[in-house]
Symmetry: C2
């Protein structure tokens, strides 16, 4: 995935690049952009009218601008994402497990998450839903 | 989860039991019922008008009878399910990773899957979607 490595030093280029078509590559890009702190590069992976529920069941963030702002806020928490298993690709749908490392009150917290995504014909993310145990983390994350 | 262990020797009892309320327990029950070959016990975990897409993006199996038949066919393949990570519970939504072991043409095949489920107020599964790499397994599974 060298071609899609995102670094904080090149946000402009990454923001305006054409989204990769392959869902697996998009997911790799998503992780790299998040961990590089590049919310605009994440936003560029989504369709104009995409929706994000994180966690699922809560109000949606709709549209690239709102989604980019949401990811900027998530990045600002200092969270780091680490894949913990295979990306499952079923046509235009993917699901993948990962963990979020977060420092809360001086101690490290690890949250196990599964994201699902639906892609459009252009390979952009139309819908993202995040699944994690909301009990106990609701107070400061939701 | 002793109270929810399902064995092939007691299908009547398990078929008519009240569905557990707790999503995590329902998922444990789901695995146990599948590996015990008890399709009726799996069907009993679903709401009357539930829908199943397995894999996601393919036509839905709708209603408990159709869903039970679908699981009976899956059980008949000799597949075994093994959880491979935490069950993520976000309110009435869960997602969990597992693998399916299957003997195909004399050799063992392992398919990595993520299921998502949505529950109703009674703790029954309203919707199930299965995510796995469909390329390559499409010919004999889909």
């Amino acid at each position: 995935m060298d071609a899609f490595v995102v670094t904080a030093q090149q946000p402009e280029m990454e923001t305006h690049m054409v989204a990769p078509q392959n869902p697996t590559v998009v997911v790799e890009h998503y992780f790299a952009a998040f961990n590089a702190g590049n919310a605009a590069a994440i936003g560029a992976l989504f369709a104009d009218d995409a929706s994000v529920q994180d966690p699922i069941g809560t109000p949606s963030h709709i549209g690239r601008e709102a989604i980019t702002q949401f990811y900027q806020a998530a990045i600002n928490t200092g969270a780091r994402l680490t894949p913990t298993g295979a990306i499952r690709v079923a046509g235009k749908h993917v699901a993948f497990p990962f963990c979020v490392q977060l420092e809360v009150g001086g101690s490290e917290m690890i949250i196990e998450v599964i994201d699902t995504m639906r892609f459009d014909d252009e390979g952009q993310i139309e819908e993202m839903r995040a699944y994690f145990n909301t009990t106990g983390v609701r107070d400061f994350l939701v």
